[in-house]
Symmetry: C2
Subunit: 377 residues, 2 copies
């Protein structure tokens, strides 16, 4: 191709089609930026906006109050000794692996772990061992299985996904943390789907490291991640450069520059507030699940009753319809879109993930009505 | 501290003080997002906005046209075989080092290299050797010194900063590339201050890898980086996960999610246009330098005449004034600010970096007038 005016035009006005729809994709629901903050964000959209008054370390900037946010507010919010911002939850996990392990060490993860836990371990040159889930229909992970596996594979690091991104299962992370603590194995909890949605205390979870995601669950424009660290690990994870004594090696000097950090900060008061209302979100989800399970052939898999807004749905009825519908397996995507709903991947009918997080009651009812109507096709 | 309403309020309305000023900080000038694109960006500000129609790989998304941008447009723009987006130029450099070297290998960099080249090498466990510059007043790097040093230290990777971020020196990178090619040493050119400002062809530079920065020089809201790779390196740098066959290990699956990539794309037509006008920018810079050098005790260091908008200024006159001014070494910052100009770090008087990139002629004249008036204090 050639770079010319007509080819460039398509980049000039890219509108977001999904803006007009109810979006039930779990990765989207927790990263919606509050309307109120958008005007403020416009001021900070330029490249290095946050660096105007930097004296060399991003997370020590006083104006805007990054220092206070990273070193005072977030540690309190997460009940953890120290926090840094990273380019995302996956980067946080890699930083920990890369700092505390050497190639050929073993990392032990739950079978439900996000793919990035595996890929980060691969990047760090680690062997990966899995704690299997209980299989259909709950796919739960048992703390005792962690104990057995730890004795068997002697990992350098244990990871739990809390909740996992497939079933929204909230497994007994405290107990696993206790086991790791007794066996003196560093313990990382991936809270990409919990920090910013539900109350999280690193200390209560017995975690050495906790990981969060601004764009997944903290109403932030990304990419931006959280890394919380127990005091005893600070010197290792946040080790300084030999040549540039104020720069942290794993952050390559500074974490996410510019808008993401501003967005995380401006959304934070709103996030604090919504975390307090987590129980209401769970109640809304249970209402939604109960209503769609009234449709014959629809069933929520994973932990029951669900304790998280992200859920995995088995929908035999939609699969059956796809077998005879003229649009085939794309019928569900098309029918939902006609009704103003997006977020289920085109082509899926038998199983899909869904979240109603932060949807209003009438929007939830609209999704329920859509499911009911489509099930009658 | 305690997280309460009054503490949270300071995060609600953080306004960017520098918005009202002419900003002459070199790291800010190339990352100013065009006003016209801001309304479009508002639509994409939510966390995973770009992922609405993703089928598993960020840079293969067809709507918005990420695939076309990353795999067709950028390779043509940079005259390079393959491109990926990263979280920043520093992350691009680390990806290359981490992929092609093993700990204790040596990387050879120019003495003027950005600190992140050193920190990335430290993170990758590499030994660092430097090619010294010629010292005061030009601080140039000689291609022949690279040849000598390569023979001496047998590096796994050679890095050149083009231009460097202190003096804006554009050294003979083509010749260094030729030397590396003859000696079969992989060659990386850090173009964080050139890609998006001036025409860059990886092939003409004889580069195996080129690195750029969206928020530094491509009018993008960051953080976002560019990594351009010669075909023979693609399989190594972009190697896929063993467990998740479509995910690239070094990108941890996907590069920068959300707004940064949209911003890079919407600004791109504007960037293509401004790169064509690079000579005008150099002329404007030379005009500026000539005018301020008329002030006794002000001198541009580095390559002369300058060939880049970023320049290093020696200003004995301001240092002298600081010795007798009641604000001491903070006088320059304060006086400039009173005149509507920011971007020189508070406390600097003897030397500072400056850029007039993309400033209008009347703004440049305003800066010149300010310098003249302050020199008469």
């Amino acid at each position: 191709m050639t770079i010319n005016e007509s080819n460039l035009n398509r980049f000039r006005a890219m509108h977001r089609e999904s803006e007009k729809y109810i979006n039930i994709n779990p990765i989207q629901r927790g990263g919606i930026v509050p309307e109120k903050t958008k005007r403020v964000l416009d001021e900070w959209i330029n490249g290095y906006s946050v660096c105007d008054f930097c004296e060399g370390i991003l997370d020590c900037i006083k104006s805007p109050p990054v220092y206070e946010f990273v070193h005072k507010v977030l540690p309190e919010f997460l009940d953890v000794d120290a926090v840094r911002l990273t380019d995302g939850a996956r980067e946080s996990k890699f930083i920990v692996m890369h700092s505390i392990s050497k190639p050929e060490d073993t990392v032990l993860v739950d079978q439900n772990a996000h793919y990035t836990s595996f890929v980060a371990a691969e990047r760090a040159g680690l062997r990966i061992e899995e704690v299997p889930n209980s299989g259909y229909p709950e796919f739960m992970i048992d703390a005792d299985r962690y104990a057995e596996k730890i004795d068997e594979v002697k990992p350098r690091l244990v990871i739990v996904t809390y909740p996992d991104g497939n079933y929204g299962n909230l497994i007994d992370v405290q107990e696993i943390g206790k086991i790791c603590s007794e066996k003196e194995i560093p313990f990382l909890v991936n809270c990409a789907y919990s920090i910013g949605r539900m109350p999280i205390s690193a200390k209560k979870l017995n975690a050495d490291f906790i990981v969060g995601s601004g764009h997944k669950s903290m109403a932030a424009s990304g990419p931006i991640g959280i890394l919380g660290v127990k005091e005893e690990w600070e010197e290792i994870i946040f080790r300084k450069s030999e040549k540039f004594g104020n720069k942290e090696v794993e952050l390559l000097g500074c974490g996410p520059r510019g808008l993401p950090i501003i967005s995380l900060m401006t959304s934070f008061p709103y996030v604090v507030d919504r975390v307090k209302k987590w129980n209401e979100e769970v109640e809304k989800t249970r209402y939604f699940i109960k209503r769609i399970e009234n449709i014959s052939g629809i069933k929520q898999l994973g932990e029951r009753p669900t304790r998280h807004d992200l859920n995995f749905i088995e929908s035999k009825i939609f699969y059956e319809i796809s077998q005879r519908h003229k649009k085939g397996r794309f019928f569900l995507y098309n029918e939902l879109k006609k009704k103003g709903i997006v977020g289920i991947k085109p082509g899926l009918t038998k199983n899909f993930k869904i979240s109603t997080y932060q949807l209003k009651k009438d929007e939830i009812n609209k999704v329920i009505d859509a499911f009911e109507e489509i099930s009658n096709l």
